[in-house]
């Protein structure tokens, strides 16, 4: 790795390393946590090791965000094409209504349909994460200079080629910013899934609240915070290059 590349990726690497150290270094972490809650009987969350919880957390966010990107960007592209333009006001307003729905309420409403476990939180995150992506993709595609499209047309590009080689690359920074907001918010919100039986980094937090154990809460909170910082700084690098 060259020197400048290392400099560029320094921040995400540092956060990621700290995250992994805390997730795997149970013993060492334990003595730190002991200090936060000296009276507790045990300080390390016993049900599952932190690395597993971290990976499950990441997995839920990845599925929900992946679906949100596909649906959000897809819908925004469709309604900015001539054939789908009729649907534009509806899609824009429905996406903003989606964010008005509190994630806890969506989570609770999804349980009767999907049962306890991981799926309700994926649905809640998907709904909540859709708006920033749809809004930014619409803004990015609609905000392009009409002259650019004219030029692309003049070069003999078809509709698909214009979208793929001109519109999307030009709108990419704005779209990426939307995805970044969506993903970082979802990393924190995913912890709520633990209230309906999803096993992720929210589980130690819930266990801590129920047992009055601050150390459990801290491990969940610190790891979620570090995960958010890692992902956010990764996106910052992507944006900077884009």
């Amino acid at each position: 790795m060259s020197r400048s590349a290392f400099k560029r990726w320094r921040a995400p690497l540092a956060w990621c390393a700290l995250l992994l150290v805390l997730a795997t270094g149970g013993e060492w972490f334990e003595s730190l946590l002991r200090w936060s809650d000296p009276e507790a009987r045990r300080v390390l969350y016993p049900q599952a090791d932190l690395l597993t919880l971290l990976l499950r957390h990441l997995w839920v966010v990845a599925i929900a965000s992946g679906l949100a990107v596909v649906l959000g960007v897809g819908a925004a592209i469709l309604v900015t094409r001539p054939g789908g333009r009729d649907f534009l006001p509806l899609v824009a307003q429905a996406a903003s209504m989606g964010q008005t729905f509190p994630p806890v309420a969506v989570l609770a409403l999804a349980v009767p349909v999907l049962g306890f476990g991981t799926w309700p939180i994926i649905v809640a995150l998907l709904l909540y994460g859709l708006l920033p992506i749809v809004r930014n993709t619409l803004a990015g595609l609609e905000g392009l200079d009409p002259g650019v499209e004219e030029a692309a047309r003049g070069m003999g590009m078809g509709a698909a080629q214009r979208l793929w080689r001109v519109e999307l690359p030009l709108a990419a920074p704005v779209i990426l910013a939307g995805i970044r907001t969506s993903v970082t918010v979802n990393i924190a919100t995913a912890a709520l899934g633990a209230t309906v039986g999803a096993s992720n980094l929210g589980a130690p937090i819930i266990a801590g609240i129920i047992n009055g154990n601050t150390a459990y809460i801290l491990q969940g909170a610190v790891l979620i915070g570090l995960l958010a910082l890692t992902v956010d700084s990764l996106f910052a690098r992507l944006n900077w290059r884009g």
């Binding site: 509806l90 509190p102 009767p112 209230t195 809460i217 979620i224």
Partner: protein
Amino acid sequence: MSRREAPLNRVVLALSLAALACWLWLPLGSIAPNRIVLGTAYSLPEALGWPLTVASCLPLLGLAVMAWRPRRPAYYAALALTLLLLMALPLWLALMAQRHLDPALPQARVGIGAAGWLMLFWLSLLLVELRTRLALAGWQLGLGLVPVLGAWWLTAPGLASLALWQELAGRGEAFAEALLQHLLLVGGAVGTSLVLGAAIALAMRQNPGVERLGFALLNFLQTIPSLALFGLLLAPLAWLSARVDWLAALGVSGIGWAPAFLALLGYSLLPMVRNTFVALSEVDPGVLEAARGMGMGRGQVLRRVRLPLALPVVLEGVRITTVQAIGLTAVAALIGAGGLGTFIFQGLGQAAMDLVLLGALPILAMALVADALLGALARRLNRHTGRTTGATP
């Protein structure tokens, strides 16, 4: 948006056909012998028989027909049909209850099925679309919804066996108390963060060091999951109330409203400070010049020029904060703060889904109403001050 003279409105057509498909194929409702047992689902023809089924579909077909000639009168007719469908929605459930409920089982209850919920969803989208086409103001749409609520209220006696209703009847007082607690927590947090946020934003404008530090701190606070922030306040507050007498006398303790309020306040401050700060910074220099030219002092400029101009953007902050706080207060039920979230978590614990609904539906409604009202107010003020856009998060 370019409005071509299209031969048909594909949005209305697609929405009404989707609603028709859900209405015919999915279960309208279910009837369960008691609270915990899963009910038997009834599709529309099973529940009402074919003649009534066809009758209930006619307005939807009417909507699809209206979509072919999208002129203003047709849109008004479509709006009337949509409102009619909304009004009739509980009627079909009441008819189903009347026909299929066994009088020998007093515990039996009616659940709302997927067709009912999805119909509500598609009809709301239709309302959104028709509102855009007819360029209706918010209050005009609200006026149209009055007869809908009236019709629902009239149908209510026929739905005494609705599961949701039975859950409510069993805990009417607890529900009223939870609703009040919820509103108090949201109102208290939003009100305090408005005052505090304005003070912080003013301090930030005086001093760039405070600005950097303040935004860094508030951004950091926002990355802590709400669940964790509630939990992390438990121990320090319990410690404080054990040592400071007057705090304990105020009812501050590790669980309850105090940690909930502090966490809500922390989350509300960022959107509030950000919007107030942006609003105060983005006033046109020419306007300020003119105000100073008229002999206004610093304080006067702030009070009479900057603040009124900033109001719509500040209000946008209040809207974001309120909607967010309504959802977060639901989570606060986990640390004993009360509020409607109590029913959600109780219901989840007992696997009684109707109890969950009793908590979740009012929260959803509150969030939507707060969003609509504050959004309309902000747009109104915007028109007054001649701005076109507010700050977005």
